[in-house]
């Protein structure tokens, strides 16, 4: 909790302070509140700035029934064809397609009671990826951002460490994963490509394959000798090339760091470990994510889409998409735990909403924001815990109901970011990072 940061960080420039910040946006009232908040939340996030997060984004909206919230006693047209299976925690059942996660349940919490009201992919993505609903209705195919994403906010909060961009996404950005008014510096660094293929190489953070380290060094020397534009280190001059140099230095440090370079090279991973995550691109991205947070990347999103099963849901869920998730995610949690990394790695898996109780005529389920399951692990989150519940047939979150804002507030708090702070848009308007989010207290026991 840093008061200074809150007062200062909002004022990107003088004009913004003047536009709204100043005495009006941030009066004594806020100062008192912040002081109070520091006392209140300080206790529950001792080492939060060291917490990194891996978010598995299941774009399309996975079914809560066929994963973490089976309803074996519901009528057949709701229950579906899968059986429920026991988990490693007595009395708690998951659905048949996630046997490995059921076994690893002692490592994570499932929240069954987060819900909202936006049944469109575009709007739902935005709500669950930023904690903020869209201010206008947004269609299903839409990619929209009206508010900074979690990853961008974390990047804004932490900045570049050791030349590493704080926010990375694989293999592409999510729909609402952008920085919005936090600016391009906080957009995700995208690692595309197929990490399960033999010649996979992370782009940009490692040397191109044909350039040896020695060659790179001689290029760098040549550049150093030829980059002769005069620099003005006097702060008053505001010479942007001075900042440019700092980033180049960080970039070179990253490329020369044996530790970072080893992390980017997934081929150095023990074959058995690679096998454990599953030899497919999704599994290897999870493994890559572990390697990235290990060297200090703050936020890694894995965009794993295709969950919009309006038809043939039951056949599909027997297939690779779910098998890869079940195997990869349970392997990730186990691996993090075995390496002692789970304590400071937050793992979150979710989509934008759950799916309709009634199975439709095409043996699928449709969009359903009134109930969904969210998996959360690490960073002090208890294992083997179910938070909240849906009603008997899985229609609505019914017990201990939480909103996306509460999810966002909890996520930020775990990351050491004050969810009650105000940000300022490019026009100087103050915007709460999270609008009145309550902490999901079960995550902070």
């Amino acid at each position: 909790m840093s008061l200074h940061r809150n007062c200062n960080g909002i004022a990107r420039r003088d004009f913004i302070q003047l536009g709204l910040g100043g005495a009006l946006g941030m009066g004594l009232c806020d100062l008192f509140r912040l002081r109070a908040l520091a006392g209140e939340t300080g206790a529950i996030r001792p080492a939060a700035k060291n917490v990194n997060c891996i978010m598995i984004w299941l774009d399309g909206g996975p079914s809560h029934y066929e994963s973490f919230d089976p309803k074996p006693d519901a009528p057949a047209e709701i229950r579906g064809t899968f059986k429920s299976i026991p988990t490693s925690v007595p009395g708690v059942h998951f659905s048949e397609p996630v046997p490995e996660l059921a076994k690893a349940f002692d490592k994570f919490t499932v929240i069954r009671s987060i819900c909202h009201k936006d049944p469109n992919h575009g709007g739902g993505n935005h709500y669950m990826m930023t904690g903020s609903p869209t201010p206008v209705p947004v269609g299903c195919g839409a990619f929209v951002t009206f508010h900074p994403s979690f990853g961008s906010m974390v990047s804004y909060d932490r900045g570049v460490r050791g030349g590493l961009p704080a926010y990375m996404a694989m293999p592409s950005n999510t729909r609402s994963g952008g920085p919005n008014f936090l600016g391009g510096q906080n957009a995700p660094f995208i690692i595309d490509g197929a990490p399960n293929s033999k010649n996979f190489q992370v782009n940009d953070v490692v040397l191109p394959r044909e350039i040896s380290e020695e060659h790179a060094r001689s290029r760098r020397d040549l550049r150093a000798a030829l980059d002769r534009m005069e620099r003005f280190n006097d702060k008053l001059v505001e010479d942007p090339s001075v900042v440019f140099d700092q980033f180049y230095q960080q970039g070179f440090d990253l490329v020369s760091s044996a530790k970072a370079q080893a992390a980017f090279d997934i081929n150095r991973e023990d074959e058995k470990v690679r096998e454990r995550y599953g030899r497919n691109d999704f599994g290897q991205r999870l493994l890559m994510a572990r390697r990235l947070v290990e060297v200090g990347v703050s936020w890694v999103t894995i965009n794993y889409g295709g969950w919009d099963d309006h038809r043939n849901l039951f056949e599909t869920y027997k297939g690779d998409r779910l098998k890869q998730l079940d195997r990869g995610l349970s392997a990730l949690l186990t691996d993090l735990d075995e390496r002692g990394l789970l304590a400071n790695t937050l793992v979150v898996a979710l989509g934008e909403f759950g799916r309709t109780p009634k199975i439709n005529k095409d043996a699928g389920r449709d969009h359903w924001p009134h109930a969904m399951s969210v998996l959360m692990a690490g960073a002090g989150i208890p294992g083997g815990q179910i938070v909240g519940a849906t009603d008997a047939k899985g229609y609505n979150a019914a017990e201990n109901v939480y909103r996306p804002e509460d999810f966002a507030a909890s996520l930020y708090t775990k990351m050491g970011i004050d969810p009650r702070q105000s940000l300022h848009t490019t026009t100087g308007r103050p915007v709460p990072l999270v609008n009145d989010g309550r902490l999901i207290k079960e995550l902070f026991v």
């Binding site: 003047l18 536009g19 009006l24 952008g178 008014f181 010479d239 970039g251 026009t427």
Partner: protein, 820 residues
Amino acid sequence: MKPLFHLAALLGVFSRFAIAGGEAPRDELVAALIAEPARIQIRAGEQGNVLITARLKDGFDTDATDTATFEVGTPDLLKMETGGTLRAIKAGEGHLTALFAGQRIEIPVEIAAATTEPPSFTRDVLPILSKAGCNAGACHAKPDGQNGFHLTVFSFDPKSDYDEIVKHARGRRVFPAAPEESLLLLKATLALPHEGGERFDKKSDAYNALVAWIRNGMTFHAEKEPALESLSVLPAERRYRKGARQRLLVHAHYADGSVRDVTALAGFVSNDKEIARVTEEGAVTVGKVSGQAVIVARFMGLVGDSRLIVPAESLLPESQYAGLPVNNFIDELAYSHFKQLGLFPSANCSDAEFLRRASLDTIGALPGEQEARAFLNDTDPAKREKAVDRLLAHPFYADYWANKWADLLRPNPDRAGIKSVYLLDQWLRESFRANKPYDQFVREIVQTEGNTHRFGPAVIYRDRREPADLTTMFSQLFLGVRLDCAKCHHHPNEKWGQEDFYQMAAFFGTVKQKGAGISAPISAGNETFYFAPGTTVKHPVTGEVMTPKPPDGLAVKTDSDPRHELANWMTDEKNPFFARAVANRIWAVFFGRGIVDPVDDFRISNPPSNPALLDALASELIKQKYDLKMLMRTILRSRLYQLSTIPNEFNRADTRNFSRAYRRRLPAEVLADAIADATGVPDSFPGMPAGSRAMQAWTYKIESQTMDAFGRPNSSSDCPCERDLRPSIVQSLHLTNSRSLQSKLANTEADSRVQRLVTSPLSSEEVVSSLYLACYSRTPSAEELGISVAAFNTPGATRRSAIEDLLWALLNSAEFVFNH
């Protein structure tokens, strides 16, 4: 408010000490004393203020209010409190005398009888609640209030605030039988726990005023209460030495001609804290940086300003400016501005710098190698002017400028539909290809009628579906005025209120649409927009139907589409916003920042750095009938544009007056094209014809890691966001290590620059020159040539590897990435 109070008291003591200890002018330097106001008008029982200024013989004024001695000539009528603050005791003609540095000045004080009107909520209570911060967005004006008590943001709805205090919470917030026991006061004085702390104490005027209001029947608005008309701040403008201090006075002017000293109730803010800071009480401390600043005072939705000029320690002699070349009016106005601030312009930039800069700024592309070579060798003294004309006629011009406007106008294709958005893109490019006069360009957008699948600008109406959305966008883009705040509450630092906002919105109330609306998932349908009289826009608080009226303009009564009247008003040569806004926008492209900056935020608290220059540019544009190329030609030809980026000892700290050129990182599209041109390997963009340039990409969805890394705007992001031109770690990593750059260097097709040079008969020296011309538009220095040629002879190097490495090194240097 206790902690602040103590701090202020402490500062006050400190400041008096400082002035007495070191800064007080020697008596013989003081030419005269000035009192402001010269005659004080006040009511019995009220507090008033006078400013005493010592006019010095060296041309500076210094605030002597705190150091002067006051003698009250009529002690039965008034008494002095602290500094220049006095309190009237009873009605009559009083006077007091200020003494300073052996001089004296007499000040008449006209004391009217205490008012018989009961205190009113609007006149007496709301200002106190505002000053105490109760109705700030983070306190009781949060959407759900705070702890059950909800006020409107900056009291945009006084009636609702009144009801909240007097009627809601079962009336327990006020207790007329024993006003001191009112919850409102118990909380504000911290007699009861209050999360917001103590806002004022029981001895304060604020407290007494609230008690009096509760006791006297809690009037909402007095019967004959005159309307508040304007605000003035004293001193209105003054030159200061660094480190100087100044107290400000704020006067509210009412419709009945009365003036009220509202210094204690006003809020203050400085637009530049480096130049001057101001306390909540209106005490200014000038900093250590020279320049201009304004302090804005706010009171009940009105703003007033005090302008400060802080010259360098010593101004330069007039003769030093005498030899400076004047290419046109821009230079004249800039130099006279520099003289006032003690700035001196940097030297002329080199020919190579000029060509590269002008080309990047005008067409968004590097000069070609041949073009650079020819320009450098040209001995024609008018070659810069000729180059300007060539650039303005260049085919890339249209794409570059269309792209700038697309940043601002382009909707999210996911929302508004691909075809519709594409048509807007085409319309923009055609507009700039035809050099459409800017007034016509804006008129076509504002007056849009027609179908989104036929007429480009219609998609703007498709995307911004509500009159309020169009109001925000058009006022910001075309007037440079951010009305957005006033949609929900009074603009905190401007005069705009909800009335202004919804009167502007009323221009768009009669636009109707038919056809397929925004629809999931791709909004592929089309829509037609047309004028349909009868629909209206209402004020969200009063429910009143709004008559269209532009900001600071006249109400429009018409049976036809009022948007035509709006366009007429905008493009009228007397319009105070329109020409200035676009001239400033164009200026900012060429200089890296606006004369008003941010370019779309004109307001009293964000003044132009050189107002005369901005006025002249706007007049020029009007004279040229809104021909943007003519304005650009004038700008490009000015000496000011052609200054070096290298600072001198008189302008190192100048980052806003344009006494030197400012370095700017190349924008995403420009950089991507520059890499393609320098390597001779064009990008291939999915879905675009071969040979397309980054500048021609019409949506962010056209894949390009380079453009993403360098911050091209993403139209899925609802802002419209300013471009992020800051360097970042992703950029340096991308330029040094990306596969795309490496493959361009290694490309062996005949047109690739490396390949051409490898297979050419040129000597190493000639190859190096060719690379420098392509990247930097200049030839290498002897030293650079030496280092570069040595790269060919390093053990293990081949001609190819040396050229690849050299080009890599040049592209990764600041001289490439920046426009300088």
